[in-house]
Amino acid sequence: MILYTIMPPESILEGYDTFKPEYIELDYPGGGKMVIEPLSQSEGRLVRLISPCPDDYLRPENQPGTIISFKPVHP
């Protein structure tokens, strides 16, 4: 991988060795996954959406950084 940027590499990569985010995957309605960085038991920040349906990516609530609240679904 090559970074082609005007930013100095030391400022981009500062903390890279200690940066270990934890992600969980949630099912996305309609058959996809949401990769979420948990903030608490029921809330997380959306990191990435994995969906086969391109229109899902046009939804503003699916943009990375959105706070997602989730709850267990009981049968």
Partner: protein, 247 residues
């Protein structure tokens, strides 16, 4: 859905009124009953994508970086191409550069999109932002925006491959070839700007401010949001007119 024991994401919708909540409930019912989501509601026919901060590619960057994730931009471009309601795409750039391959991937997709595209460089469109900004059908730069053209190897960062001169040179050639093929700048001129000494304080390269980028043929016109949207609408209308004319 009823047998699903895994947590189900419910996007938080702060400050929405009850009517929208009902609409969201209806959408959720739709998913549960029909197993499908409805197409997002678009009031306008123009879609916009921001490319800001670092273009993040194969490596998740530490949190002090503001990044645009290429894996999220790419499906959006696919959706723009495929969604019949979207007629044109506006790309707004304010980027400091980023991953070469991610940037080129976005640039190639913008280039091969069949719908009209207009890009607007605001603030900065540096390094790998240059090929992204020239990939559209028509490009604008705001008067105060800057674009830095510099060689990859000096401020670039390399991981996973031996940093041989040939490898980086090849990477650089990919960028140069793309820019030359998608703007009116010549390869000699672009290389000259890239290896210019004396313009950047401690580095090799050139900073182009607003109209400089237009004068050398990199960007088509100096303009702002109004011009960019008007141009995009004109391209959309022109395409519609051509479609009517041929049918």
């Amino acid at each position: 859905m009823s047998t699903n024991r895994r947590p189900r994401p419910v996007p938080r919708r702060a400050g929405r009124n009850a009517g929208q909540a009902n609409q969201n409930d209806a959408a959720a019912d739709n998913i549960q009953q029909l197993g499908q989501t409805d197409v997002p509601r678009l009031d306008g026919s123009l879609y916009t994508i921001n490319i800001i901060g670092q273009i993040e590619g194969h490596m998740v960057l530490p949190p002090q970086n503001k990044t645009t994730k290429y894996e999220h931009i790419i499906p959006q471009l696919v959706a723009v191409e495929q969604n019949p309601k979207v007629e044109g795409l506006l790309i707004i750039l304010n980027t400091v550069g980023g991953d070469v391959e991610a940037g080129l991937a976005i640039a190639e997709l913008i280039d091969t999109l069949s719908k009209p595209t207009v890009s607007l460089v605001l603030g900065g469109g540096h390094s790998i932002g240059v090929p992204v900004s020239v990939a559209s059908d028509y490009s604008y730069i705001s008067e105060t925006a800057t674009m830095t053209i510099h060689p990859i190897r000096l401020t670039g960062f390399l991981i996973g491959v031996p940093a041989t001169f040939e490898y980086i040179d090849k990477m650089q050639d990919r960028v140069i070839r793309f820019v030359v093929n998608h703007s009116t700048i010549t390869e000699e001129k672009f290389r000259e700007l890239m290896f210019n000494v004396g313009s950047l304080a401690r580095d090799i390269g050139t900073v182009l401010v607003g109209k400089d980028a237009v004068e050398i043929g990199l960007i088509k016109e100096v303009g702002g949001l109004g011009q960019a949207v008007a141009k995009l609408q004109a391209l959309v209308d022109q395409k519609k007119g051509a479609a009517v004319g041929t049918s």
